[in-house]
């Protein structure tokens, strides 16, 4: 895993990729095929198809096919087989990350494609409208430029498949973990409330000895149940003021303050009044934090899976959904859904319309300056030709921690920029992110008599207001100073997103965590070697030797058990990294090494667990989970800055 220097891309040896070259006449198809074959140099199988051949048999565009190059001609579009093939290619672009549809415009103009209506009765217009809604294409593409792009795509085919698989795997794992965390929290909340109601915790005269006997379980249950409530309490006092005088300004502010104060504190008092061991209370509280963080990450995952569409936006004379309207105005973050700690890396999504010269110019300048400052920046120029631009938009918008909307008179009446801004507001409602920053063009008139032409989201966001809170949109006029401020604020060194914990506390925790994190990383990095070595102990156990007894005698049982859990957590994440993220010629053997280590560690943990106390098991599980999270953060950070990794997913 540590050897990330040798970067070499090897094409898949499992199957030969297939590329279709489609033209109306046999000559056209042959010309495209020749160019592709000479450029691809046998890296992929090029299949020539003319409209005549398409009429005889419909080719398979399944997994083996990685791209199609189609010459668009009006005469060809009138043939049903041609149209059907184009339609199936569009389907593939929508469904698969590793399929590209390249278009060569012959006598079909870009205007003709852009002006196609999906509601038309003409099937050609319907398909062209679908094309516009799906595929990123360029009117200036030639056979040569497309052939070069196909070559690049074929070379990186395996990588793009691994990236797509990793994204799906990560989101699925996170979604399942979030669901499990939420269920555990709910399961713990019910008995914790029962305990609070049943035991006279408020009565200082009452002795609770008669309720003793299950202190450890009570401590864990109450710790898990209390953390989300104590988080609410912290949020209330840091946002609404020490006397909670601002709690009425948030829709559920009184509920947050009330629940946090009235229930959160007593739940935590229960184990203290029962004199539960401090170690168990600590296990409960740390578990509570981990589960709460996992649950909150689930909302971010849900946001990442959300697909934006212009069909759902509020059109002219319409109105925003109430929950979007709330987030279009100055507000506080949702303490139940926002991440606990502020995100530290800025991922910026720049939203603008290509119809605006000012927007194009500023988007280019801004993305260059932000990228130079170290922020991750996405604007639609980065979408590769032939791919689904909607998927790229969804993925990048889902990951963004800041959305910068460049708004001028052309933007306020256009649907896609409105859909992006609405998606940002929805993201705020779902997961507390991204922060919306609006830069106004000098030419944009203030909302006045003519503002009825604007789409509702812009009217709401740009409405004058005199209040400013942490989560409302930031509206700035375009000026050198505003751009300077944005660039300075979005440097990774200075950037901090919104989190439930206030910035000062989050910063303190981050600093306090630095040394333990380093220790976890140092210890975790020997996990792969240790995991393979522990097979010796597993074998000794299998041949009948009393490994547990020997380790107990040596007083090494507890330490080894905790170490194994730590190594397992860390190495498990490294296994996933080497399987999906590592860009290395020998990623398969590296994955196998890590995987074997994980198996060895898991076996040893199973062998040792009967000999250790439940407290040690609980602590070790927590150590393992924390190690997994530390390794995850390390892998993602390295993926952002090192070419040896494919990409960062979060």
């Amino acid at each position: 895993m540590g050897d990330g220097g040798a970067v070499e891309i090897i094409p898949s040896d499992r199957q030969i990729a297939r590329v279709y070259a489609v033209g109306y006449s046999a000559d056209d198809a042959a010309r495209i095929t020749r160019e592709l074959q000479s450029t691809l140099n046998n890296q992929a199988e090029v299949i020539e198809l003319s409209s005549e051949m398409l009429g005889q048999t419909l080719p398979d565009v399944g997994r083996a096919t990685c791209a199609a190059v189609i010459a668009l001609q009006n005469a060809a579009l009138r043939r049903s087989a041609y149209l059907e093939f184009l339609q199936s290619c569009i389907e593939q672009v929508i469904r698969r990350d590793d399929f590209r549809l390249y278009l060569l415009l012959d006598d079909v103009s870009a205007e003709q494609i852009y002006h196609s209506r999906p509601t038309s009765d003409d099937p050609v217009e319907q398909v062209l409208a679908r094309l516009v809604d799906t595929v990123q294409f360029s009117a200036a593409s030639t056979v040569e430029t497309v052939a070069n792009q196909v070559r690049g795509h074929v070379k990186a085919l395996e990588e793009s498949r691994r990236i797509a698989k990793w994204r799906r795997t990560r989101l699925s794992i996170a979604a399942i973990a979030a669901r499990v965390a939420m269920i555990i929290q709910l399961l713990c909340l019910a008995p914790a409330l029962f305990l609070v109601l049943w035991l006279p915790v408020w009565d200082p005269q009452a002795t609770l000895r008669e309720y003793g006997g299950h202190e450890a379980e009570v401590a864990v249950i109450c710790g898990i149940a209390a953390v989300p409530l104590l988080v609410l309490l912290l949020f209330s006092y840091t946002r609404y003021g020490p006397f909670l005088i601002h709690m009425h300004k948030q829709r559920l502010g009184m509920l947050y303050a009330g629940v946090g104060s009235v229930i959160g504190a007593p739940v935590m008092v229960v184990p203290l009044r029962l004199h539960a061991p401090l170690a168990w209370i600590a296990v409960g509280v740390i578990s509570g934090f981990l589960l709460d963080a996992a649950r909150r990450y689930g909302y971010a995952v849900r946001r990442q899976r959300h697909e934006i569409s212009i069909k759902t936006i509020a059109l002219r004379h319409g109105r925003l959904e109430p929950r979007l309207r709330r987030h279009a105005l100055p507000t506080w973050i949702d303490p139940m859904r926002a991440p606990l700690l502020p995100l530290a890396f800025p991922r910026v999504f720049i939203s603008y319309t290509r119809a605006s010269q000012w927007g194009q110019h500023l988007a280019g300048a801004l993305s260059r300056r932000l990228a130079a400052g170290g922020a991750g920046v996405f604007s639609d120029h980065a979408i590769p030709e032939g791919t689904s631009w909607r998927r790229a938009l969804n993925q990048n918008l889902g990951h963004a921690s800041v959305l910068i909307a460049l708004v001028d008179a052309d933007t306020v009446v256009r649907e896609w920029p409105a859909a992006e801004v609405e998606a940002a507001l929805l993201g705020q409602a779902m997961a507390g992110s991204p922060q919306l920053v609006v830069i106004l063009a000098p030419s944009l008139p203030p909302p006045d008599d003519d503002a009825w032409r604007w789409l509702p989201v812009f009217r709401t966001v740009l409405a004058p207001r005199d209040d400013q809170r942490e989560s409302g949109p930031i509206v700035l006029a375009d000026s050198d100073k505003a751009i300077e401020d944005i660039v300075a604020a979005l440097r990774p060194q200075s950037y901090r997103a919104q989190g439930v914990f206030p910035l000062a506390l989050a910063e303190l925790l981050r600093r306090l965590w630095a040394i333990p994190q380093l220790l976890v990383m140092l210890l975790g990095n020997v996990g792969a070697i240790a995991g393979n070595l522990v097979f010796v102990l597993v074998l000794l156990h299998l041949v009948g030797l009393d490994v547990v007894g020997w380790l107990t005698q040596m007083r090494a049982l507890t330490a080894l058990f905790a170490c194994c859990c730590q190594w397992l957590g860390y190495t498990l994440r490294l296994t996933l990294a080497s399987r999906f993220q590592l860009r290395h010629a020998r990623w398969r053997p590296i994955t196998a090494t890590h995987r074997n280590a994980c198996i060895g560690l898991a076996l040893l943990i199973a062998i040792l667990s009967p000999g250790v106390s439940p407290l040690v098991i609980g602590c070790s599980i927590l150590i393992g989970v924390i190690s997994f999270c530390v390794a995850d953060g390390d892998c993602e950070a390295r993926a952002r800055r090192e070419p040896a990794f494919l990409h960062a997913s979060d």
Binding site: V196, L197, W198, L199, P200, W202, D203, A206, G258, V262, P266, R316, H317, R319, P322, D449, D450, W452, R453
Partner: protein, 230 residues
Amino acid sequence: MIWLAIVLIAVGNIYIGSLIAMVGLSASIGRRSSVIALFCMISWFVGLYLLYVTTHFTLTFMQAMILGGCVLLSYQYNRKVTGRGMPSVPWHEKLNSMVHAADLICQRHGWKIASVDAARNLASLNRLHFDGGDYDILVQIQSDVEYNLGRAGDVLLPKTADGEIDYDRATAQKLRTMAKSLNGWEDHIGMVKRVEIDYDLSQFDWAAFERLSWLADAIEQQWGTVGLWK
């Protein structure tokens, strides 16, 4: 004794929950609330006194929890059931927003409708024409419920040849419909008279209401009934 206290407290909680929930709602809920409130307060203080006598802290805490639940449930109930069809603001504010929208439209175009004759003069000069801004004013004064209901009728909006809403005719229709719904027609009592029976409308802007009626009549005069609705 303790069981009697629990029963009394439970009943008191339900009432006090209702009371607290109603405070947050509009005055249009009804005047019976003050009588209910009196009973609530009595049962509530009796309950608290009994708790004070028994000094059972767990029950005190349970009492607080039950009260919280009752407040929440009663609020939902009152909002969804008792408040059905009621605006979220007092009636006079709701009606004022409607009649002032017409004033705003007149203001945008510089029409001074000080009398019925002034409105008729505008109609005879064929000056009563509207644009998208006027239409938007009428759409935005609707509540969320009215807006969602109105969307079903969007297909019936008059359209121009290029598929855009014919704002001139659509606004005229909306203003005429609004005036009719407030004033009533044939055997139907108007919304203003209906509301006046149960609620105090002393803060309603009667002058603006009159101006809206004149404007609506003038619209009908200029467009003609058939021309307006064809």
